[in-house]
């Protein structure tokens, strides 16, 4: 019998028992949808948690700690597989002050390699990267750190007067520089931590670019970023003023290695650890979360499978009744020359059909429920907790990845076919003579 004819045969029988087949499909749909939705909650919570972690940090960043980090070691790290960039930043270990007109700021100066910074994702909001020795890029919040002492004092005394009059206290923003920064010349000085005084050897720097705002609102970037060509001049100033007995260096380094992709962070972390560096990356934290959620999701799928097993009783029942009802027809087919395997296949096809249709509807239904849940639940939970802004938080209650659809479909269709197996076997064992004796 051709496969197309087998399908026709099955669909004819299904049409004859529409209501019963519909109810069985409904049971299969409910079971499968329950499994998918249940497990999707596991996927949703895992995703929310991971996003929470990943949003707060640079995911592909590997922090390297060592006493003697230098350019040579950074260059060596660049050669490792899957390393996108190695950023060696040198921070100034001295009192620092920056002046623009009447405004001063305690901003720190960072010396870095801008080609590597760019590869690692350093981006500008305005302007360009430094090309010359005396050119700098300032952090996004640099202007907010530039303050005028007189203005601040006046403002503070005004505030004190207001506080005594009003009960409610709102902390206002301190007055700061609000003019244009690009192209402006600033005066940068270093000095002694002990005295809090500068060495009075200013370096004139020109602002050529403003860095993009950090990804998180709570991080403030008021730094100055300059090229390594400035180091000798700064070291010369430092050497002229530092106490003779001091052996402390003006600069200290920190080094970050950036992987090309998240999955390669672990490999790089291991290699660097093996090379004797003290290393931290997010991959270790994520790994633990993944293991926990893998167990959780397996548990949820197991519970969901029980629902499918319950629905399989319906399929078993329907198929058993179908075999009993069609005993005479099966007998006639066998008498005419239908092989037992064909009879078995016809019934298995029918139960598989129930499973496939049930699964298909369940998948569509699950996606609909999932979208609806992600839209409505934050509002409901927010209302219940009395937090109006809960809905705005990035909480995902349910996610249905394709892998879950594949697993649920395999379980559902598999269970449907197993349920139909015994009735199908029973059909093949029908005795032709007994079947032909049956009345219509």
């Amino acid at each position: 019998m051709q496969f197309k004819d087998q399908l026709n045969f099955v669909s004819q029988h299904i049409k004859k028992n529409k209501l019963r087949v519909f109810m069985t499909i409904l049971a299969a749909t409910m079971g499968t949808a329950f499994l998918i939705i249940l497990a999707s909650v596991g996927f949703g919570i895992q995703d929310t948690l991971k996003k929470e972690i990943l949003d707060n940090r640079l995911v592909t960043q590997v922090e390297v700690h060592s006493a003697d980090l230098d350019k040579e070691k950074a260059d060596k790290m660049k050669k490792l597989d899957h390393v996108k960039a190695v950023v060696l930043r040198q921070e100034v270990n001295a009192f620092q002050t920056t002046t623009l007109d009447k405004y001063t700021s305690p901003s720190s100066l960072l010396i870095s390699d801008f080609s590597e910074e760019k590869k690692a994702g350093f981006a500008l909001e305005k302007g360009r990267l430094p090309k010359g020795k005396y050119e700098v890029v300032v952090g996004h919040d640099f202007a907010e750190n530039l303050m005028n002492e007189e203005e601040v004092e006046k403002f503070q005394s005004q505030q004190q007067a207001n506080e005594s009059n009003e009960e409610e206290q709102i902390v206002p923003e301190l007055p700061h520089y609000e003019g244009e920064l690009l192209g402006k010349e600033i005066t940068y000085e270093i000095g002694s931590f002990e005295t809090g005084e500068s060495y009075k050897e200013p370096i004139k720097l020109t602002i050529v670019g403003i860095a993009k705002a950090p990804s998180k609102d709570f991080i403030s970037d008021g730094n100055l970023y300059a090229d390594a060509s400035l180091i000798p001049e700064m070291e010369a100033i430092y050497d002229r003023h530092k106490p003779e007995e001091s052996e402390a260096s003006l600069f200290y380094s920190n080094l970050n290695v950036y992987a090309d992709e998240l999955q390669n962070v672990k490999g790089i972390t291991t290699t660097l650890k093996d090379d004797g560096y003290s290393v931290y990356s997010i991959s270790e934290e994520l790994e633990q979360i993944d293991v926990f959620f893998l167990a959780l999701k397996a548990g949820l799928i197991f519970v969901g499978t029980i629902a499918i097993l319950i629905s399989s009783i319906g399929i078993f029942n329907t198929m058993t009744m179908a075999v009993t009802e069609r005993t005479r027809e099966i007998g006639v087919m066998k008498a005419l020359g239908a092989k037992p395997k064909l009879i078995q296949r016809l019934f298995l096809l029918e139960s598989a059909w129930i499973g496939i249709i049930g699964t298909l509807i369940a998948v569509i239904l699950s996606y609909a429920i999932s979208i609806l849940a992600n839209y409505i639940l934050p509002l409901v939970v927010g209302a219940a907790l009395g937090e109006e802004n809960f809905g705005e938080l990035n909480v995902t209650f349910s996610i249905i990845p394709w892998q879950l659809v594949v697993i649920a479909s395999a379980i559902s269709i598999g269970v449907a076919m197993i349920s139909g197996w015994r009735p199908a076997r029973k059909a093949t064992q029908i005795d032709v003579i007994d079947a032909l004796r049956r009345e219509l």
Binding site: M1, K4, A338
Partner: protein, 232 residues
């Protein structure tokens, strides 16, 4: 064509564990010649239907051997038996055994579907046959919309559609009135003559048996031909 040699069979009756065998067929041997019509006549319970079931492969004999066109069929597995039936045998049953959910056309088409014949070829063959057996007018009717005679014609057409060399007919006119009975018998006779199909007819009706070239009498599991006792 069909050689039946020393066939013996018995049924077990009684409660489980306390069954006792009741012999139904007692050492039967006979031969059906190619292109002939044979009738096996006997009362109810004489064992004639059991003999047909064994010859058709629905039942395995306890002992003895059946050979059809040189092939020993009595040792076949269920699958082999089904394959052989589809190729070699056609069946006409007393209560027609048509599929209630299928039309006349679809009922006749069924054996071709089982053989895996393409839709186009099936349509061609069925259309020719319905014309030939006078069912063209009712080819889209369901069995419950047909008269007894029409249903038996459908059953005969279904048996003929695969062009089998042998057709087994179990009480082919048992559910029909005498007028329709005559029509069906005429059709069987003409098919035998025009197509050379061998018919094995089981009946309790002497008139039906009379169309046969050879008549066997079945009595208590023993077969007699033309008054001659064939049991050995």
């Amino acid at each position: 064509m069909i050689h039946v040699e020393h066939i013996q069979h018995s049924f077990k009756i009684g409660k489980k564990g306390k069954e006792r065998p009741v012999p139904v067929l007692k050492d039967l041997s006979f031969e059906v010649k190619k292109g002939s019509i044979i009738s096996i006549v006997g009362r109810s319970g004489s064992g004639k239907s059991t003999l047909l079931h064994i010859m058709a492969g629905f039942l395995k004999p306890e002992s003895g051997q059946i050979t059809v066109n040189g092939t020993v069929t009595s040792k076949f597995t269920e699958t082999q038996s089904a394959e052989f039936r589809l190729e070699q045998f056609g069946f006409i049953f007393q209560n027609f055994q048509l599929m209630p959910g299928l039309t006349t056309f679809e009922n006749i088409e069924l054996p071709l579907k089982l053989k895996g014949v393409t839709k186009a070829e099936r349509t061609k063959q069925v259309e020719q046959l319905v014309q030939h057996v006078g069912l063209k007018e009712v080819q889209d009717h369901y069995p419950n919309e047909l008269s007894g005679g029409q249903q038996q014609r459908v059953s005969i057409a279904r048996a003929l559609i695969t062009n089998p060399p042998i057709i087994f007919a179990d009480e082919p006119t048992g559910s029909l009135d005498s007028e329709t009975e005559q029509e069906i018998l005429a059709l069987i006779r003409s098919l035998n003559e025009s197509r050379g199909i061998t018919f094995v007819i089981i009946t309790h009706d002497d008139e039906v048996a009379s169309i046969a070239d050879e008549i066997y009498q079945m009595h208590d599991g023993v077969l007699k031909a033309g008054g001659i006792h064939h049991a050995i």
